[in-house]
Amino acid sequence: EAGVAQSPRYKIIEKRQSVAFWCNPISGHATLYWYQQILGQGPKLLIQFQNNGVVDDSQLPKDRFSAERLKGVDSTLKIQPAKLEDSAVYLCASSKKTGGGETQYFGPGTRLLVL
């Protein structure tokens, strides 16, 4: 079973530029998450999708961040315009509900550096 795929793996941009990240979840996983992991911290949720609908985007800075999941499969996360504090690893995770809880499978992440 292929894992969660993310691209690009690394991105360097200047502040005020825009950037987009792509995620392909594990086949059959209806739930998709985007997390932001700042160096030295635990991942923090940005947005949760169930199929192609948004379940939770309460922590997404909507003035600059947007995300979509067309057709309930792939997802893109966009930042426009980027700020220095957006430098982080952006992790995509997917899951399917299991009886005793939910295992979230993470991709390798996209490391973003904003200069």
Binding site: G42, G100, G101, E102, T103, F106
Partner: protein, 113 residues
Amino acid sequence: QQQVKQSPQSLIVQKGGISIINCAYENTAFDYFPWYQQFPGKGPALLIAIRPDVSEKKEGRFTISFNKSAKQFSLHIMDSQPGDSATYFCAASRSTGRRALTFGSGTRLQVQP
């Protein structure tokens, strides 16, 4: 009320020793408590998880102890090996609705040979 507090921030253990990492949560709606292991340049990977209806779960060298009344849980790594050197995150979530994980701040474990 969404916080998960994790300690210690870093831990050095000799090969063969026991590594212990502690976490505390506030939100009583949480009912799923996983531990994730993360190596540099990789995404977090599930190590072991527990639900609050049991006080302990063991998988190989890894054991979670759970204290519902104290709202605390811990990870014990027995016979720690150099290959266990990684960052460990505790997390908590609800099992319905908004199931996103709330992570602790992480513990960097170094197992010395």
